[in-house]
Chain length 300, copies 2
DNA sequence: GGTAATTAATAACTATGAGTTATCTAATAG
DNA sequence: CTATTAGATAACTCATAGTTATTAATTACC
């Protein structure tokens, strides 16, 4: 009997936890089914914990197995990252920062950050991925991202969050709509319109904020469509299917037959925040975070 | 040649990185020096990175090695934590204990309990709520709390009660009051004063105890005010509206212009007891209770 | 209800590679 | 210039991961 857990065990465990099927998992791992069975069993013996329930013909995770699955995902992933970073370090580079972002952060903030980063730390590589708010938090948890840009007011324990960009909101109207910055007074003029918004799941904060803007103007908006893509929202507005309220910076980067009217005189702002995990060990991340913090403080 | 890194490699690597001496590291690991040498070398081959510089007779870490050391420390540690947590999860030790308490328990006992709990059962979450004696009993009955800290002598059937903290009483006087620990003899010196007490509903035991203290001193106190908050009581004393007798530990945690004189020589003590329902099924509660019982018995 | 198919576990075997002992080379200390 | 101490090399062994073959048990299907 072996006395120690090895990474092999974790890899095997993860395969079974994902497939919930020994033969298929074994196939995926390119080993035989009995070998896999024995390794998993051994693992349970070493850890002194049941990980799977093999009742009848079904394999299911126990509570402990469920927990371990999450941890193993994290550990194996962290290991991959470490290996990669190790190469960079050995070459005298700083490594890679994996950044997640909402589409609306791409208009201005991210490009600026990247240019700055390239300038000050040419050794730091970046990878960029457009991900929703919640998916970013998840990815950060599992160490699949180092840093995110989200529109959230609160984040789980262990996370740092820092507002980095404040934007006004703008009303988005079809081009031929009989309102313009000249005769526009406030949002209440749109109280009879259908609203097209980013879906609540995608960004609860955004959703609540829009609601509060309308409430302040004395009405509850009829929401006819929800989407997760600015492009879709604009397309719907273009086709007279409703009006929208979005962060102003989204007006750049799209070619649509819609017009923007900036809501300069309302207190609500679209706040984009940088999030990262407190205990992230990526040395390149520190530089990246500091760069943005410096910038934010200089801007004031 | 092996193709994959295993945890063994990490453990070996860490030993060498710490000792910077193969033979000593091998000894520590209870393996032979050549075996260790080969594993480290293999590790370098797999990772395709030099981790040590073996110049002459000295072993030193490369930059990459230095980086990896930090990561390996993190990973191995994370692993230990995970293994521990896993046991807890499998035993159902994850979960929440809802604790009710009197304000006066917060000064010392509760913080200590929480620290201990966090240490021994990091998976157990706690929720804390300041509730009066009777409300705690009610909440326990309704299963809105798992555990309470009360000053009561008796509890209904089906409840367990266990004294966990014994405190002396102290007289609370306005700062400029013409009595101090020097010239204070006993409570009878206060027989003409108005008394400010915790209300009878809030804690019958407390109320009766104060009465018995005064009776023992040969007088029946005039009670001018009753309150459920220590803060209020102290505020009233501060403003010369009367004197009070409270558990001594309440003197910490408030900033007031009042002075405490401890009643060391009377038999009455302020007893804080832990209460919980006999048939509570919360497995996390068991741990919590045992922790406190152990502690109480160790203290004796 | 009985046969076929599919599951994971068990048993017996094999072969890879971790770890062993013995030895070598090289550097410093005294 | 030996004696000592370092890590690397070489040859061996042995534990065990992973193999094939089989069993046991459940479900699916006619």
């Amino acid at each position: 009997m072996s006395y120690l857990i090895e990474l092999r065990h974790f890899k095997y465990f993860l395969a079974v936890a994902e497939e919930l099927h020994y033969r298929k998992a074994a196939e995926k791992l390119n080993i035989s089914q009995p070998g896999l069975s024995r390794q998993i069993k051994q693992m349970e013996e070493i850890l002194e914990v049941d990980l799977f329930v093999r009742s009848k013909r079904k394999v299911t995770l126990t509570a402990a197995g469920e927990y371990l699955k999450g941890e193993v995902e994290f550990i194996l992933n962290h290991l991959e990252v470490t290996k990669k970073q190790l190469k960079y370090v050995s070459q005298g580079d700083f490594g890679e920062v994996r950044i997640g972002f909402l589409g609306s952060a791409m208009q201005e903030l991210i490009p600026k950050l990247l240019i700055n980063l390239k300038d000050k730390f040419p050794g730091i590589r970046t990878s960029l991925e457009e991900v929703s708010n919640n998916a970013q938090i998840n990815a950060l948890l599992k160490d699949r991202l180092d840093m995110g840009f989200v529109r959230l007011s609160r984040v789980p324990d262990g996370f740092n969050i820092k507002p980095v960009y404040e934007d006004t909101f703008s009303v988005v109207l079809p081009e031929q709509y009989p309102l313009s910055s000249q005769n526009f007074k406030d949002v209440s003029q749109l109280s009879k319109e259908n609203f097209i918004l980013f879906s609540q799941d995608y960004s609860p904060l955004y959703y609540d904020t829009i609601m509060s803007i309308c409430e302040d103007a004395g009405f509850t908006p009829k929401v006819s469509h929800k989407s997760v893509h600015a492009h879709t929202i604009f397309k719907l507005v273009e086709n007279n299917l409703g009006v929208a309220i979005v962060p102003t910076s989204l007006q750049y980067g799209f070619q649509m037959k819609v017009k923007f009217i900036e809501l300069k005189n309302i207190p609500q702002k679209a706040v984009l925040s940088m999030v990262w995990k407190e205990d992230n060990r990526n040395p390149a991340l520190r530089h990246c975070v500091n760069l943005l913090l410096d910038e934010a403080s200089n801007a004031n």
